[in-house]
Symmetry: D2
Subunit: 364 residues, 4 copies
Amino acid sequence: MSGNSFGKLFTVTTFGESHGAALGCIIDGCPPGLELSEADMQADLDRRKPGTSRHTTQRREADEVRILSGVFEGKTTGTPIGLIIENTDQRSKDYSKISEQFRPAHADYTYMHKYGVRDYRGGGRSSARETAMRVAAGAVARKFLEQRLGIRIRGYLSELGPIRAEKLDWEQVHQNPFFCPDADKVPEMEAYMDALRKEGDSIGARINVVAEGVPPGLGEPVFDRLDADLAHALMSINAVKGVEIGAGFGCVAQKGTKHRDEMTPEGFLSNHAGGVLGGISSGQPILASIALKPTSSLRLPGRSIDVNGNPVEVITTGRHDPCVGIRATPIAEAMMAIVLMDHYLRHRGQNGDVTVSTPVIGQL
Amino acid sequence: MSGNSFGKLFTVTTFGESHGAALGCIIDGCPPGLELSEADMQADLDRRKPGTSRHTTQRREADEVRILSGVFEGKTTGTPIGLIIENTDQRSKDYSKISEQFRPAHADYTYMHKYGVRDYRGGGRSSARETAMRVAAGAVARKFLEQRLGIRIRGYLSELGPIRAEKLDWEQVHQNPFFCPDADKVPEMEAYMDALRKEGDSIGARINVVAEGVPPGLGEPVFDRLDADLAHALMSINAVKGVEIGAGFGCVAQKGTKHRDEMTPEGFLSNHAGGVLGGISSGQPILASIALKPTSSLRLPGRSIDVNGNPVEVITTGRHDPCVGIRATPIAEAMMAIVLMDHYLRHRGQNGDVTVSTPVIGQL
Amino acid sequence: MSGNSFGKLFTVTTFGESHGAALGCIIDGCPPGLELSEADMQADLDRRKPGTSRHTTQRREADEVRILSGVFEGKTTGTPIGLIIENTDQRSKDYSKISEQFRPAHADYTYMHKYGVRDYRGGGRSSARETAMRVAAGAVARKFLEQRLGIRIRGYLSELGPIRAEKLDWEQVHQNPFFCPDADKVPEMEAYMDALRKEGDSIGARINVVAEGVPPGLGEPVFDRLDADLAHALMSINAVKGVEIGAGFGCVAQKGTKHRDEMTPEGFLSNHAGGVLGGISSGQPILASIALKPTSSLRLPGRSIDVNGNPVEVITTGRHDPCVGIRATPIAEAMMAIVLMDHYLRHRGQNGDVTVSTPVIGQL
Amino acid sequence: MSGNSFGKLFTVTTFGESHGAALGCIIDGCPPGLELSEADMQADLDRRKPGTSRHTTQRREADEVRILSGVFEGKTTGTPIGLIIENTDQRSKDYSKISEQFRPAHADYTYMHKYGVRDYRGGGRSSARETAMRVAAGAVARKFLEQRLGIRIRGYLSELGPIRAEKLDWEQVHQNPFFCPDADKVPEMEAYMDALRKEGDSIGARINVVAEGVPPGLGEPVFDRLDADLAHALMSINAVKGVEIGAGFGCVAQKGTKHRDEMTPEGFLSNHAGGVLGGISSGQPILASIALKPTSSLRLPGRSIDVNGNPVEVITTGRHDPCVGIRATPIAEAMMAIVLMDHYLRHRGQNGDVTVSTPVIGQL
């Protein structure tokens, strides 16, 4: 209820601060009988891990996850899965300044107002480091969805500041440090990032996530529509400021005759809905897109106040991502996986397993 | 758990189909001692009501709400508030066609896949008629927030298809049938809608909602960030396809030096964050914006399939909104109110009442 | 979250005060396709109804339930089922005394401390009248469990004050106003109740509930054990002060060799566990027993205080049950049904439908 | 939702198997600013710890708890508190037998039916070892309740098989290995346990828990009554088969004139209600009592079946408690503390802090 859990039947509860002893997570409600080992999660964790290219923070974290419970003889048992990642790179440093100042556009000020105390080391609980556990939990959901239902969830960076990917070549996504699906734009992105780093500034990004093979019928009317839960999940990722499903804001200027996805026995003729009708999956690919703000940890000075309300000038040194969006693709995929997993179990609880009572039409 | 409830401490659970006997709602967790009568809700209900201008559906519903419990001698008692609106205009008509066909871009097809049965009369549970109860519940939250904390929640239509409001004059919002804050654009909107109606087509819209006077500290890390819950709430409104907080998708191409809202003892120097930092309210106005798709109920024929998978041509006759966004402003306000109310109670539960442990800086 | 909902997947939320306009309830999560009409609920409601014999309160309530949503063409649609019972016998009376005094052993004093206001008419929300909606919701669960899984849930009064039923003849339970399964004890009970009524006093009772045909596997470790949820459900019924599962308090003085229910391929050799092992159903009958306190609404004067803290003497006139336990059997059955229903859906969500992966052994 | 969480606002989620790598827990919703260290929990953990006398299992577990998050500079920060206890005494042994057989009256059979797989080492998740984490979490709640509200929670063993404590001398409770408040009965208990151990049998027990200083007003109508949540919490403890509040089953044969706790300006004249009226605390001490069954892990052979349904004779060797009730006192206290803590926060959320709107009368 205090917001550190997500999912109703596949429930992920996380703990941990950026510079605390460890990050951890409990997955409750995972179906039994799923083959699972640390390796299944490590692949996704490594994709999110800092320090894999010069374009992300140089903090070094092994991010090695350990399963503490819920798996026996290589299979999930249906009991809660306890996960832990020990923090290894907690560089001892002088926190006297940060403890007294509120960095602009950070959670320092709001945590202090909420709780009256805060763990100021590296942002504490508000650090994006927390998302490591989402990725680990998402990997479990993803494996189940793939094995059991054939669902495939993939994401990519579609915009890096002013640079927009114009081709969607899935093969390319993992060939560059940006998760960019358009190889032609990678050199431009590299140059842009190098200049930005030199400048000391940061930039926003847009990430798209696609789930294919989702059976029709997932999602609950009326408040827990599949798209509403997706919006919740994706907006809960650090730095996200916008979420679109399907046509998104593009539908503001669309006419109904264009937007409506006509159907034929062979399938839908378009997918402006993004795979969700009335909050329930239609069998088409689920399409989501998110905007990530530029990080506010800059070495360029900014105006702020201290804990006593006096004006100060803040400079953030240390190791930071100049574009937090770059590492966000695996996180967005993970949240999509958790939402779909949760809704699959919820659907199965009320309605029995997914079945085909009416003809499922083809996909676009 | 089946998605018909919203809110953890201020919990709104609704029921009712478009052409059923009644719509209803239970508000659980409302603080005791709030003066409340039907009139408090009726004003907002009337703003959402169909048939108030030629630009919305001509279905006539009195939408008269009745309080059945939880209020005694004019005040809330802390026990659940039961609300009901009887459906009056359930025009008897021939449903044989609609019962056999799936209207494109409607929930017909997905409800059928989910449940194997569906109430096809007027869209059943998937009808936007369900939002009447959100408006009623939102009015209770709004009244409490205003009286207890001085919070003011207001919305307006910022785009109608290709027409964009360029001025924000709150006085104008209720002077025209569009909730448009820019009087100069109203004639253009009227002409556009008249042409559209003649054409038989529909159009999308964008709605903005603003909450002023929100104390710093509301919102829960990490999954139930205030903005994540807002995204959930707003995306759960029928026809919404996108949600932005503050700068929204605009931050993709923003640099950090621009986006970060610098602070001085006199206040924040900008509000790109939209009043939320790290998922917690900062004391600045909360800014949200949503995209609503064009309705798919068109008298222009569209291709679809019937329940046996055969191709059909669908024409939707009857009374429909050519721009569902027009009536959406009160609904978006209501969802914002419910989210803030819920988070205020959640905050008070864990942390005690909102207090000022650090200086609250001025608002922009 | 404010306690007016029960069940995680089959969720029952109720509203309504004793002398308010109506009682109501929303059942969210009911599987689609169940044939359902008011008649299915009315039978159970009539068993709970006041005024059916001289041994219960003479308040006359038709307790006619009306389905407002969630059922279409005679079948549940999977959307929320709205139910309502209008209060008809709200005898206008002088409430000036009751509004100023706290009746001993009633909720008057505690509601006032909790909320600062209270609906004092007939106990308001704390009245046992609220249980009518539990019975209606329980009837839906019961019907599903019986049709889908062959589960049968039945209860009976095993003790009325000092008189104990010594035979369990299910045929007898509905042949007398006490739900007593031992016909020989009925005359004794009638005489006892007649004397008690003359005396102006009240008495406690014990009710047993049995569910047969429950498949093994229902119940969730570790906090939501089936027996823990049953204890919650049963203790939430007005006037209940104790709950036992299987041997209950009898096991305090039992040795392990006696208590353990040995198993053979033909079945368990005893059922001290009451059908629950490790919080999960074993396939044996679920056995629960509850204690109900004597009502405190007595015409014999009792010492109390008024709202200003002054001593007063309270006499409760009006129509009251001298043994609230008598009408509790259908309520206890309903709560058992709701718990089993909820756990069946929860089990199905995580694990798929109930199956037989290991031999199910016979029942005792 | 899969049952490994307890509490709505003070939420405890646990993981861990008897012979797995570790036990763990996340406490979400703890108020900020509470001084907290491992030592605060260790005292209670040590009271529950095995091997402290010859009357409990000789398994040696240090049960050393470590705080991984949520505490900074000695105080809680309001973010989730991660706790871990590494399992140290996982004696390697031959599990081939236990993996193929279902021990009678254990959860082996039901877990297998539920999940299709099970961690058979030491009972896996169904082991009472899981309760260590409840004790740790309960210690946090207990400290807050004591410091903030002056609430004191204490328990004792009132019956050990046929031996009943006849005096309640709180000083004695921690002077003997049984938590017995009657020093005169301790020699008898010791002799009884020695004989039982020789015999190879086990015995049940009764534990009472008392909370003093609870303010009036805690508890939520109607399903989450304070007593209903207590029943849930206490019945969820391993081996518990019965729960009583106040007079409990004693009220079956009580008359109303006796049961009703009359009030005077100086206080209540009795406490048959056990401190709860209408599900809400009255300001009197909360009184709960539970029955614990005798353990079924006996070296005396018992009849059972194996995983193929064949008859087998089961003998449980190894280290087991002949009376699991002996170590249950700290667990029952912990669950009482968690329930009260949760209800205090829930009350504060809806109603603001506990206040005295009407005179609080004296305690008995």
